[in-house]
């Protein structure tokens, strides 16, 4: 649900979490991102920075400049001004990301975890089972069958938290317990209903079942896509996974290494919330394709 009133909670002496709801949908993400933007534009004194997410915004503030209670009042004022999302129409890039599903690298990582930390059903199989799919092949078809909405960047520099825009591709999965101590660079996976790409080898908690050879962040800014930022994605982008096999993975990896890889970024479209919602309402969301 979307809460009738945003919920405010302290995070120690210098953070405040604002939760707008307890589910995953576009409207909640617009509220989270919208508050982050509103804070920036208003130049609200005492706010150091914000981390907008799927359904919330975390604000880092300086308690020597603004008190917790005063900040809550200021944020409530900004939230009031956010307006309806129905009229939102914004430019949205579509970025194609090659993904080797059911690859041997994530499989090796899962084997290592099962051996050293905790035995579990292998990730792809588990996600397929929990979502009533016929098997891992259907998982690949369903997971790659939608555009993903980049809701926020976080966890690690450049890591996109994404939600499927096509409700028929909606899957859910538990997060690792305990989390992995490492994940292969470029691994693609999901936790809850969120999909992510791991920019580098990091610890992680998502179920992983694919891997992209394409860098999604680049401190050396060696490709033109990184001129503006070392992170490939920004909130409001859309991502489409293109299934590839291992041979193609290695081929792309090589082209990335020698600098000849060309990113496939489509940048002429606008995302219309009302159009999108009209389309979603026309679907039978219980059908998979």
């Amino acid at each position: 649900m979307i809460y009738p009133q945003a919920k405010f909670s302290p995070g120690g002496d210098r953070y405040i979490l604002i939760e707008f709801g307890n589910e995953m949908n576009l409207e909640l993400n617009f509220l989270g991102q919208g508050l982050g933007k509103a804070v920036k534009i208003s130049g609200l004194k005492g706010v150091i920075e914000t981390a907008p997410a799927f359904a919330s915004t975390l604000v880092h503030y300086d308690p020597d400049v603004i008190r917790y209670q005063d900040l809550v009042l200021e944020l409530k004022r900004l939230i009031k001004g956010l307006g309806s999302i129905d009229d939102i129409e914004l430019p949205s890039r579509l970025i194609y990301i090659p993904c080797c599903y059911l690859d041997r690298w994530t499989a090796e990582c899962i084997d290592d975890y099962r051996e050293k930390i905790c035995d579990k059903t292998p990730d792809a199989k588990m996600v397929a089972q929990l979502n009533g799919l016929s098997g891992t092949d259907e998982l690949v078809r369903v997971h790659s069958g939608t555009e993903y909405w980049v809701a926020s960047l976080g966890f690690w520099p450049g890591l996109p938290f994404m939600m499927p825009l096509d409700p028929r591709s909606r899957l859910t999965a538990p997060k690792y317990n305990p989390p992995r101590t490492w994940t292969p660079k470029g691994a693609v996976g999901m936790g809850g209903a969120s999909t992510a790409i791991y920019p580098v080898a990091t610890p992680g908690g998502y179920q992983i079942f694919g891997r992209t050879p394409v860098p999604i962040w680049d401190t050396k800014q060696s490709f033109p896509e990184f001129e503006q930022s070392i992170c490939l994605f920004r909130p409001g982008d859309r991502v489409k996974f293109v299934p590839i096999d291992e041979k193609e993975f290695v081929d792309i990896e090589q082209r990335v290494a020698d600098g000849s890889y060309v990113y496939n970024v489509v940048d002429y479209q606008k995302f219309s919330v009302s159009q999108y919602q009209k389309w979603v309402n026309s679907l039978d969301i219980n059908k998979r394709f």
Binding site: T172, K175, N177
Partner: protein, 325 residues
Amino acid sequence: MIEVIKGGLETSIQDYPGRIGFWDQGFPQSGPMDSWSFRLANLLVDNSVGAAGLECQLMGPTLKFNDARTIAITGANMTPMINQQPIAMWRSIKVVAGDILTLKFALDGARSYIAISGGVDSEPWLGSQSTFHKASVGGITGSAIKDGDQLPLGTANEFISQQVNPELVPPLTTNKQWEIEVVAGPNDDWIDKVGHQRFLESEWRLSSKSDRTGFRLDGPDWTFTDKAHNKAPEHGSEPSNIIDHGYPLGAINLAGQTPIILVSDGPSMGGFINPYTVISAAFWKLGQSRPGDRYRFKQVTVEHAQELRRELDNKCQNTSLIGEK
């Protein structure tokens, strides 16, 4: 310039407060784990409190100076020596060209800080010199300093003979026990009454699987409220799973049943709940604790946490130094 003869276990360039302004792209703040000791070291060499210096973890580096400088060593005692002669900590020290500074294993605490007059003059990266080495960001090469590195330095200040008032030196534990102040939240309503009691009354052991991104704790299991069990599936089915959200620095992040304190290089966001958050004034204790140390958590209010923060900031001023008359 400083020539790195031996890098030590993990010696990194850090500035204070660290990398601010890129949190919404997933960059952690980084910066020193014990900013109390760090700031005092800078004051001793007449730098601004935030100037870039070195954080040494458990075993320090061997460094050669190629010009005359004022330096100061604070934090954990790693038996600092210049040309094999022991030197005092918590005071300004003169070095001349050719002097070799050696730090060994930490006898107490976990992190030593080396401030050099003029500061380390590496290229800032996204507004900060702080090293976030797991992501190859900041410092000289994006990593901890290595044997053979050359560290450029800023313009040296004049030597002032001064020391930290001994009463205002951070009190390192002698019995491996720490009391860590926390504020409940942001997700305290996911834990049931017994779970809260258990957290605050138990002793927690710092696991060896800990680093600048997170401190894993060993202790009893957690129990949850109905909210953690009956929720929309997009949270993830484990009780500790929540729709991915921002993580406060210092959050006690409950990954499954494993609490992980998110420290300087920790993740900015993720899908686990944070029932408590360590207050900024207690951070230095995390920075000085070692695997195997025991924590007890003490709950304080937001207002009290902010008061403690002001008190600590007041201790990181020149008024904490005593000049040599």
